[in-house]
C-alpha cells in the first residue's frame, strides 16, 4: 500500500508526519533534535529510508544527522563511524571548510558586505540538502555564506564545489536580510551533468558539467534595488522549481516577481499576471501537470505575511500569468503567517498532494491538487521546510 512521509524542519526541531495513501490519518513523531533549528531535511530518491537533516544552532554551530531507517533513529555521520570504548557512535560533527586551494575553482576570499566593502566568506549553516537522484551516499549541501558542498560518503566528509563561488561574480554577491545563503539546488533528472542553484542575493546559476563550472542565468530578471537593469548577479531569487518531465522549464519566485524560463534559465520572463502581490518565497510544480504551478503571495518585502489576513495559495494551470486563489479550508481572516522558501512540497500519488508549512506552525495538505486544504498539524514551532516522500 502506498503512503507518504512528510519531513518538517522547524525552529525548534524536526517532525516526521506519516500516513497511508488516503492521507486522512496522520502519525506525528518528534520533535527530533529538540530545541535545535532544523533548516531542512530530505530523503534520498534512491533509498527512501535514507534521510539527511541539517541541525544547527547559534550556540553550537552545524551538525548533519543521517537516518537509515526512515527517521526512526539518527546518527552523526561525520568522520569515522567507529565506536567509542563505551560502544557509542563516534561520528564527528560535520566540517564544512571552504576550498582555499589554488588548484580548484579560483577560490575567492571575499564577497560584498552590507556597507559595500568586501568581506571574507564565513560558514554559518546548511540551508538545504539535496540527495543525489541515484546514489544514497551522495548529497549536495547549500550553505550560508553562499557555497555548494558535496558528500559522496553518506555525510561523513564534505567538499566544496568551489567553481561556483570562484567563477568570477562572487565579489558582487551580497547578503540579504536573511544572510547570504544558497537555498535551492535542483538536479536535472534527464541530464546528470546539469544542476541549478539559487542564492540570495546573487541569483540563479547553472552547471552543465556536474558542478565543476558555473554560469549565472539571470537574464530577464529585473530588481528595482539594482540600478543596472541588466545586472548579471545581485538578484534576490527566493526559490526555483522544475517538473521532472520538462527540466528545461523553470519557475522562479523572486523577491518580487514570479518568473518563468523555457530555456534552462538562459532567459526569463515574468508570469506574475493577476496575482494580488508578486512577492513571496515558495514556488512548486504539480507532480503530474508540468504547467500547473503553485505560489503563496506575501504582502510585501517589509510585511512578511499573507495579504488581507487571508491565507491563499495561488494556482496557475497555464504555466503562469493566469492564477486562481485556492482558499477552501484555509483561514480567510486574521491570518498573518508567512510561508518560507523551502516550506512547500508535492507528493506523486495519483491525486497530487500539495503540502506547505507556515511560520505559525501549521502544516497544510491538499489531497486534491489544491482544491481543498486541511491542517495535518496546527501548533508546531515556526516551519522552515517541508519535504514529502511518496512511499510504495
Amino acid at each position: 500500500m502506498s503512503g507518504v512521509r512528510v519531513l518538517v524542519g522547524t525552529r525548534k526541531g524536526a517532525f516526521v508526519l506519516t500516513a497511508d495513501g488516503k492521507r486522512k490519518q496522520w502519525d506525528v513523531s518528534g520533535p527530533h533534535f529538540a530545541g535545535w533549528e532544523i533548516y531542512h531535511l530530505k530523503g534520498s530518491p534512491a533509498d527512501p529510508n535514507r534521510l539527511y537533516a541539517s541541525q544547527s544552532s547559534g550556540w553550537f554551530g552545524q551538525v548533519i544527522q543521517r537516518s537509515c531507517d526512515g527517521g526512526k533513529t539518527w546518527e552523526t555521520p561525520g568522520g569515522g563511524m567507529t565506536k567509542t570504548a563505551d560502544g557509542m557512535p563516534a561520528g564527528e560533527s560535520n566540517k564544512f571548510v571552504y576550498d582555499a586551494s589554488p588548484d580548484t575553482g579560483k577560490p575567492l576570499t571575499t564577497h560584498q558586505w552590507y556597507d559595500g566593502t568586501q568581506h571574507p566568506w564565513e560558514f554559518k549553516r546548511v540551508w538545504h540538502l539535496e540527495p543525489s537522484l541515484t546514489d544514497p551516499d551522495t548529497v549536495y549541501a547549500g550553505v550560508e555564506d553562499a557555497g555548494l558542498f558535496r558528500t559522496s560518503d553518506g555525510g561523513k566528509t564534505w567538499q566544496e564545489l568551489a567553481g561556483l563561488r570562484g567563477h568570477g561574480t562572487g565579489p558582487k554577491w551580497q547578503p540579504g536580510a536573511g544572510g547570504m545563503c544558497l537555498h535551492t539546488i535542483l538536479l536535472d533528472p534527464s541530464n546528470p551533468r546539469r544542476m541549478y542553484v539559487a542564492i540570495s542575493a546573487a541569483g540563479a546559476f547553472r552547471s552543465d558539467d556536474g558542478g565543476t563550472t558555473w554560469n549565472p542565468i539571470n537574464r530577464g530578471l529585473h530588481s528595482q534595488y539594482i540600478p543596472d537593469p541588466n545586472a548579471e548577479v545581485g538578484h534576490c531569487v527566493h526559490r526555483i522549481a522544475l517538473h521532472r518531465s520538462r527540466p528545461n522549464v523553470l519557475f522562479m519566485q523572486k523577491h518580487w516577481d514570479v518568473m518563468r524560463s523555457d530555456d534552462a534559465g538562459d532567459s526569463w520572463r515574468e508570469v506574475s499576471g493577476n496575482l494580488p502581490t508578486d512577492f513571496g518565497f515558495v514556488v512548486d510544480v504539480h507532480a503530474h501537470e508540468p504547467e500547473t504551478v503553485y505560489v503563496v503571495p506575501i504582502k510585501s518585502d517589509s510585511e512578511h505575511y499573507v495579504p488581507d489576513g487571508k491565507l491563499r495559495v495561488y494556482r496557475s494551470r497555464t504555466g503562469g500569468n493566469e492564477w486562481e486563489a485556492l482558499t477552501k479550508g484555509l483561514p480567510q481572516r486574521d491570518c498573518y503567517v508567512n510561508v518560507l522558501r523551502d516550506a512547500m512540497a508535492v507528493d506523486s500519488l495519483d491525486a497530487c498532494g500539495v503540502y506547505f508549512g507556515t511560520t505559525g506552525g501549521q502544516v497544510y495538505l491538499s489531497a486534491d491538487a489544491g482544491d481543498s486544504w486541511t491542517p495535518i498539524v496546527r501548533d508546531l514551532p515556526a516551519v522552515l521546510s517541508v519535504e514529502v516522500q511518496t512511499l510504495q
Partner: protein, 98 residues
C-alpha cells in the same frame, strides 16, 4: 579525573546524561580538556570551538570555581581544584532569546 559539565543540548548530542569525566595526561588547560573531550565525543567537534581555527564559539563561555575563565588563554592552567577533580569545568551557553 577532570569533570566537565556540558550544556543540555551538547549532553544530548554526546549521549550523556550527567557530567563528563576525563583522564588527562600532562597539563590541565582548557585546550587539553577540550582536546580530550572531543577525542572521546567526536560529535562535539565544531560545537564548542571552530573545527579549523579552534576559536571559541561566540555564545559559549567557560566557568570554574566561581570564576569566568572565558578569556583566559586556552593553554593557561586551569585552577587546581579543576585539575584535581574537586570542581568541574562548566561550559555554558549564553542566555539568549528565542
Amino acid at each position: 579525573m577532570i569533570r566537565v559539565v556540558l550544556p543540555p543540548h551538547l549532553r544530548t548530542l554526546a549521549h550523556v546524561r550527567d557530567e563528563v569525566q576525563l583522564d588527562i595526561a600532562g597539563r590541565v588547560t582548557r585546550g587539553s580538556v577540550l582536546d580530550a573531550l572531543e577525542a572521546r565525543y567526536p560529535m562535539l567537534r565544531g560545537t564548542i570551538r571552530d573545527h579549523v581555527t579552534e576559536q571559541r564559539r561566540p555564545f559559549l563561555r567557560f566557568f570554574a570555581c566561581a570564576r569566568d575563565l572565558t578569556h583566559e588563554p586556552p593553554d593557561a592552567p586551569l585552577p587546581d581544584a579543576v585539575a584535581s577533580g574537586a570542581e568541574p569545568l562548566l561550559v555554558l551557553g549564553a542566555i539568549a532569546g528565542g
